[in-house]
Symmetry: C2
Subunit: 319 residues, 2 copies
């Protein structure tokens, strides 16, 4: 690989799907079907901050795209394509091959082809910025400000595993190989419910993806929708590998653990059966964990219906 252009041609340029213009021009070109809106999001991963230098490049590429696909899912949008801006200290063919193979694999599985981007030399570690583009029926996007009092609160997947894995990998929690083996895949290879999410348009009211921790993220829905919520702690879908850990740590991981990339959404009680059926068909675990109330505030009830005292408020990039 002798130049930026050769690098792009070798590792990243792929024939674009029919009707699209992929890498190699000033812009990528694509169409949004009539009656649909474009949904777009971007997410940046920095070496040393979001990943360590020795991370498996296949895991890194997977996660860089998956966290963005999670943002599309959280709006109920279907992927159209993605862009990759990549800063590298050097051209490492093995690393680039593994990285690009993994990116193209997830892009292919999720119907989100790589359409363009930017490559540049970095003086200070790898920098990865993925932008995703998706389509959603006009007016049907799952926004944060659409929760109604009386809505059920639902969660896809399970909670707590990525937080526990990260604590062990960072040495903040004593390493338990069995627990780590069970939780680490959810940290490194999150699987947002991409096929299920677009089916929520027209059924769900508000939605978002759990990236900073359930309490903080649900708090965004409550603030944007000017309402409150009651959660039932025993109904929260804790990852089974957490069962052997200290109760306080488990609560912290379940309520405030980030990197989950599953959905939290609200929907009228009338849609309970329909939602359960769709989730079953899609192979998505779906848990009804509480409900929206008119009064502001977030209450978590324990098994005896008593409010729990909360100290964990999730993750903030600039605390």
């Amino acid at each position: 690989v002798t130049s930026e252009f050769a690098l792009i041609a070798r590792y990243f340029a792929r024939p674009a799907p029919s009707g699209m213009l992929g890498p190699g021009d000033d812009c990528a070109l694509l169409s949004v079907p009539d009656g649909h809106e474009l949904a777009v999001a971007t997410d940046m991963l920095l070496e040393g901050r979001h990943f360590l230098p020795d991370i498996d490049p296949a895991d890194l590429a997977y996660k860089a795209l998956a966290v963005n696909l999670s943002d599309l899912a959280a709006m109920g949008a279907q992927p159209l394509g993605c862009l990759l801006a990549l800063g590298l200290e050097m051209v490492d063919p093995d690393w680039l091959q593994r990285f690009s193979d993994s990116l193209h694999a997830l892009a292919g599985e999720s119907g989100c082809p790589l359409l363009g981007g930017d490559t540049t030399r970095s003086l200070q570690g790898r920098v990865i910025c993925v932008t995703v583009l998706g389509q959603v029926p006009r007016g049907r996007a799952l926004r944060r400000d659409a929760a109604h009092p009386g809505d059920d609160i639902w969660i896809t997947g399970v909670l707590g595993a990525p937080d526990i894995a990260l604590r062990m990998l960072q040495g903040r929690l004593a390493r338990d190989e069995a627990v780590l083996a069970a939780t680490r895949p959810l940290l490194e290879r999150p699987e947002p419910p991409l096929a299920f999410a677009p089916q929520l348009c027209g059924l769900a009211h508000a939605a978002l993806d759990i990236s900073d921790g359930l309490l903080q993220d649900l708090g965004h829905i409550l603030k944007a929708s000017a309402c409150g919520a009651v959660l039932r702690y025993p109904h929260l879908p804790e990852h089974p590998a957490l069962a052997t850990l200290e109760p306080a740590l488990r609560r912290q991981a379940v309520l405030a653990g980030g990197d989950v990339y599953q959905l939290c959404f609200t929907a009228p009680a009338a849609h309970r059966e329909r939602l359960a059926g769709l989730a079953g068909d899609a192979g998505v675990r779906l848990s009804r964990v509480g409900h929206i109330v008119a009064e502001p505030g977030l209450t978590v009830l324990d098994a005896d219906d008593r409010p729990m005292t909360l100290s964990a408020r999730g993750f903030d990039h600039f605390p």
Copy 2:
């Protein structure tokens, strides 16, 4: 400013134009008018590589957006909106105020509102990644692969100034304050022909923006279009401040100097008058500098119609 969310609210969130959803949800939402395609591009700027730590944050924000707007112009697309992914080592209110004011100013002037993005803490200098979204009439985008033999080759604006300014600022060329004062604004505040470019759809064939140097960038058109070109050096629009410099340096700056962010495009000779009229109306300097030929290869003719010997091939991020 106490959190990522407060930072976004204070400096970056602005009411989105009617019909769009701006910052604050998982994705931004916008519409592409019927009969149009979406054009999208992304560009990353890294501290130490693309800018120095002490750069005026207003200039930095301007350039981060302007270079992306230039990519839209190069496709003949009109801006719809942009996303900003921003990595910062710390929260510096003065810096953020100047940066965001400048970004919003150019976004407002160019009809490209900031619709979303990502903010994160960086451990290793500032990282800026802007993604722009634009619209272009379906099938009318100015692609690199559309040049025809016989087309005129046109350039907007002037050449050479950013390269000379950068050389002086980096100490690679003896500093001449008069020359620097005249050339530096074109390096720090490039003005791509945003209003003129969409009018080229239907008139021009191929186009791109000059970012890596005329010879290298025109070479992309020739390769993609499987043709060649003849340029007439005396017709190339050299910035007047270069007149006092060494001839070899002037040629290098004009032919291979990057960071220009003006358009190079091809168009049938039948459109000469029309193009000149549109450029005049838009206040854009337009120079006819050569023509496309069927035989591959790029020839630059001097004032006596003799081929010049070329050594400068422009800029490559991974030489």
